[in-house]
Amino acid sequence: MTTAVLGQDTRSVGRGRPGVHSTLTRGSSVGLGLAMIWFSLLVLIPLAAIVVTAGQHGWSGYVDTLKNPQTWAAIRLTVTQSLLVTLVNVVMGTLIAWVLVRDRFWGRGILDVLIDIPFAMPTIVAGLVLLGLYGPKSPLGINVANQRTSVTLALAFVTLPFIVRTVQPVLAELDTDVEEAAASLGAKRATILRRLVLPSLVPAIAAGAALSFARAISEYGSLVLLSGMLPYKTEVVSVRVYSFVEGGDQTAAAALATIMLAVALFVIVALDIIQRTVARRG
């Protein structure tokens, strides 16, 4: 096998247009090729089928979908709730990861175990349990059923693990020598956190935030029971898509799905740019 070229300037077999830098070796090219074949079969081609179905009748599929006020309300609700929940997760996820890595107390292990549970619980059961605890029969008297808050709650539930688990390994891997050096030079705790720790965590937080937003806009199962799926109030996009499918209108379903894909890509790219900007400044 050829020696791995890592970040050095030696150009290997130049690929593509002049000026586009490629440091791929033969081995890694094969790896990339195989990965792309799998990725295409699994993701790209099926999603292309959706986009093709959406465009069956030209742009009218997209226009009609966006013009429908009920659908538009669903898109607005889904995107704003997902952004809100992602923001909550950025804060809480980082705090939780901090406590799990840097703190030590009895029961920390239980906390660690709880984090992944939202992934493993089938969404219908999650919905049922949340409905029982935060619905009309809530032991705490908190009833958010059939209201907007229920959407936030359900989304917060299913997206909890993302930022926690992306930040945890990075935090654990952080070189604490730098922090200690800064402290010995007289830097205050807040400064160390702000200038040293946080910037190192930004890529991980951004990665988790992108996943959290993506998952939130696509959630369906845990929402249906708790939210009541009321048009204009608690009806999310995935419900509209299902309604179109049930009504036999594959074009509208695919058009709406494509619009949400575009929204997701936009946020993912935006987070990537934010992350790079912070990394460059830090």
């Binding site: 906390l111 604490t176 990665a207 995935s238 799905a257």
Partner: protein, 270 residues
């Protein structure tokens, strides 16, 4: 390592523990209460049914396949994205997160459009050669891979970025070839990121419901998964059994994390 002041530390603990308790802990307690509402009765009723046991086996098998495939893809992709440059890299990186944003109905629809045996793009050709994707294991594994695709990649990339390639460069300059560098330097360094990614993927695969439901056809005793069995029990007024099966699914995911915690070398006290 920066240490927070004691009041800050305690405030943080309280905030974090209350949040996780209200959001996950208490629902989990409720799940356990409902599952054990009849002592072990619900479990006996659920798991004495061979179809339920079969559904559980199907879920575990599909999840293990998805974990295996996604780990290989995830680690490989992470290495390619962080350690190499190539045209289209940024686009690919953005696309990898995209599967998470697709709602289960759309995933099912997408896979059906391409692979269904009657009118799909590839389906009829594949089935003519004996490969059935939809309403069979391959389709279910694909749907499960789809929903958990970015998890390993996104765990490993930040860690790979953080640790930098100094050690790898040193190894190369000392004469190690790519494979040795990978095995001895890179993989051990990203070990815990991979482990977290695997655990997350396993949990996600165990709990996956919507997309797999459409692709599997829910054939009892054949392609029905545990989460579909949960829905079926609940639709047929057997709530206790539904909770019992859910409890086992969550337990399996929890076991993975517990195993990880036990395997992790004890950190030296601060």
């Amino acid at each position: 390592m920066v240490e927070l002041s004691t009041p800050a530390k305690w405030a943080l603990r309280v905030v974090v523990i209350s949040y996780v308790f209200l959001l996950v802990g208490w629902p989990m307690i409720t799940l356990i209460q409902n599952a054990f509402s009849d002592g072990l009765g619900n479990f006996q009723a659920a798991f004495s049914d061979p179809d339920v046991v079969h559904a559980m086996i199907v879920t575990i098998e599909v999840s293990l396949w998805a974990v295996g495939i996604n780990t290989v893809f995830g680690v490989g992709m992470a290495l390619l994205l962080v350690r190499y440059e190539f045209p289209g890299k940024r686009a690919l990186s953005a696309l990898i997160d995209l599967p998470m944003a697709v709602s289960p109905v759309v995933i099912g629809l997408a896979l059906l459009l391409v692979y269904n045996g009657r009118t799909g793009w590839f389906g009829p050709t594949l089935e003519a050669h004996g490969i059935q994707v939809i309403f069979s294991s391959p389709g279910m594994i694909m749907a499960t891979c789809f929903v958990s695709l970015p998890l390993v990649v996104r765990e490993v990339v930040p860690v790979l970025t953080e640790i930098g390639d100094d050690q790898e460069q040193a190894a190369t300059s000392l004469g190690a070839n790519a494979f040795q560098t990978l095995r001895r330097i890179t993989l051990p360094a990203i070990k815990w990121a991979i482990v977290y990614g695997v655990v997350l993927t396993m949990a996600r695969s165990l709990g996956e419901f919507g997309a797999v439901k459409i692709v599997s056809g829910n054939l009892i005793g054949q392609t029905q998964t545990a989460s579909q069995a949960v829905e079926q029990e609940y639709n047929n007024f057997s709530q206790g059994e539904a909770y019992a099966i859910s409890f086992v699914l969550v337990l399996l995911a929890v076991l993975c994390i517990v195993v990880v915690s036990l395997l992790r070398p004890k950190e030296p006290s601060a």
